[in-house]
């Protein structure tokens, strides 16, 4: 415990003694974390936009023209029992026609000449959002179209595919960028701690000769890495907060619609960035410290 206290003291002193290198390190860590957290923010927002869009995604199941009410009920029950389907809406022929009237508006009068309603009744299905994956939806549609009483199935195939691609690209690049920054931060702290090591070689040697244990010698270095990560994280977090506030403030004036998309940064991001920084830097200094010959 006292060793820990002394190590903390000694780490803080050393950080101050090497303030220029440390400034550079914390800035690098901070910038790395800023980029990462900004990107995560954007992709989280994108994701929620995509989710919102996908909620409106529906499969329309057109029923046979002369289908009986009983058969319609059977189909409905089958859909309701299907765990993949979240929502089932029945649209009768008449409802379909009146929808069409609404769409046509002033031109609706052309429908008046019709002797009978040409529109089929249909079900609109909403799948669980986790299942909105092109291949799966396609299979589902193929199964549904084979059901008795079903005439046709339609859904926005292309739209779904592009939605899917966008979300996949977002995910992949978040992972890629996250990995790259993770490695970069580890590498930066690793290098910094190693530089400190060489600079304090004499001191370490003296400590050893006086009878200091391995952990006594290593602890300050580990703590230094940790502190650098936390400070870098705080820098990143505050910068993100600043930039975000600025954009929000400006967008109120210029483009209110943009606001809706970018406004939300979860507090968790601000709070977790310093911890993430600390974790990454700790790993970096841990590796560096492991290289000490003793």
């Amino acid at each position: 415990m006292r060793v820990l206290l002394y190590s903390i003291q000694s780490a803080l002193k050393n950080i101050w003694a090497e303030k220029w290198i440390n400034l550079l390190t914390t800035l690098s860590v901070g910038i790395g974390l800023l980029i990462l957290s900004a990107f995560i923010t954007v992709s989280l927002n994108m994701d929620s936009v995509l989710k919102k869009w996908s909620r409106s995604f529906g499969i329309v199941v057109y029923l046979d023209d002369q289908i009986s009410a009983e058969a319609t009920g059977t189909v409905r029950d089958l859909f309701k029992q299907d765990a993949d389907i979240m929502e089932v809406n029945y649209i009768s022929e008449d409802e379909a026609l009146s929808e069409l009237r609404d769409i046509l508006g002033a031109d609706a009068s052309i429908l008046d000449d019709l002797e009978q309603n040409p529109l089929p009744s249909s079900f609109e299905l909403k799948l669980k959002s986790s299942l909105l994956e092109p291949v799966f939806v396609k299979k589902k549609a193929e199964t549904i179209v084979k059901m008795p009483g079903v005439a046709d199935v339609q859904y926005g195939e292309k739209w779904l595919a592009s939605l899917n691609t966008v979300s996949r690209i977002m995910k992949a690049s978040t992972i890629f960028l996250g990995g790259a920054i993770f490695i970069a931060i580890i590498f930066i702290t690793y290098n910094t701690i190693k530089i400190f090591f060489y600079r304090r070689k004499e001191e370490i040697e003296t400590l050893k000769l006086l009878g200091a244990t391995k952990s006594f010698i290593r602890l300050p270095f580990l703590l230094e890495g940790l502190v650098l990560g936390v400070i870098g994280g705080i820098i990143g977090s505050l910068t993100l907060y600043g930039i975000h506030s600025l954009i929000v403030a400006k967008s109120i004036d210029f483009m209110p619609s943009v606001r809706a998309i970018i406004i939300s940064i979860p507090d968790e991001i601000f709070l977790s960035v310093p911890f993430v920084g600390a974790f990454m830097s700790f790993i970096g200094s841990f590796i560096a410290v492991g290289k000490i010959r003793y």
Binding site: R2, V3, T206, L209, G211
Partner: protein
């Protein structure tokens, strides 16, 4: 307390010490001497496991040096205070902190550290320099700081390598008196020196090294 039996040390095919055997008893104050380059520093290093013998056995305060593992070396060193020839003071720490370092590594309570360091600085008459930095001290003062650091943890054995190397005779006497006092308190002291006047007429035990082996031992 310190026992060498047939110890040899080889550096790069160069036999520095050959078949060295001697015993220094608990409470002794003894000297190792011989011309420069003969292996005095190496002999001290072997005692605090700063070098490992190529042959023979060394026992220090009950520890068998050859059987020590990297992990246990620190604990041996806490029983062996060393006054290094090149001082090894940390210039970014003041006198107090340099001395305190030897206790901090022991996980000692800060208050005890303060008391012990102040007491030992008083012993070496440097309490007024407590906040000075090593490079602002004279050679004799630096030497005393190093001695204070070596004795503060109350080691069983104290080794000193050319402790009067760069000092005039007045300062040398101060230093020698310090060692005598430390020895009188019960610490076994071994001093390596090429300065014969330190031990002449002292009646103390002297180990003469010549051409990598012990030429003679003078006992009291």
């Amino acid at each position: 307390m310190i026992e060498f039996s047939d110890v040899s040390k080889i550096y790069d095919n160069d036999i520095v010490l050959k078949d060295i055997s001697f015993t220094i008893n608990k409470g002794d104050l003894a000297f190792v001497t011989g011309p420069s380059g003969v292996g005095k520093t190496t002999l001290l290093k072997l005692i605090y496991a700063g070098a490992i013998p190529d042959e023979g056995n060394i026992t220090v305060a009950g520890w068998e040096i050859r059987k020590l593992q990297q992990r246990t070396i620190p604990y041996l060193r806490r029983h062996v205070g060393v006054v290094f020839q090149d001082f090894r003071l940390l210039n970014n720490k003041n006198v107090f902190d340099n001395v305190a370092l030897a206790l901090r590594i022991h996980n000692m309570h800060p208050k005890e550290i303060r008391d012990d360091v102040n007491a030992v600085l008083k012993d070496v008459k440097l309490q007024h320099k407590s906040h000075s930095f090593p490079d602002h001290l004279s050679g004799g003062e630096q030497q005393r700081v190093v001695i204070a650091r070596a004795m503060v943890s109350k080691p069983t054995v104290l080794l000193a390598d050319e402790p009067t190397g760069n000092l005039d005779s007045a300062n040398s006497k101060i230093i020698m008196d310090l060692f005598k006092e430390i020895n009188a308190r019960g610490t076994t002291v071994l001093i390596a020196t090429h300065n014969e006047s330190l031990f002449q007429q002292s009646g103390r035990r002297v180990i003469y090294l010549k051409d990598s082996s012990i030429e003679m031992e003078i006992s009291k």
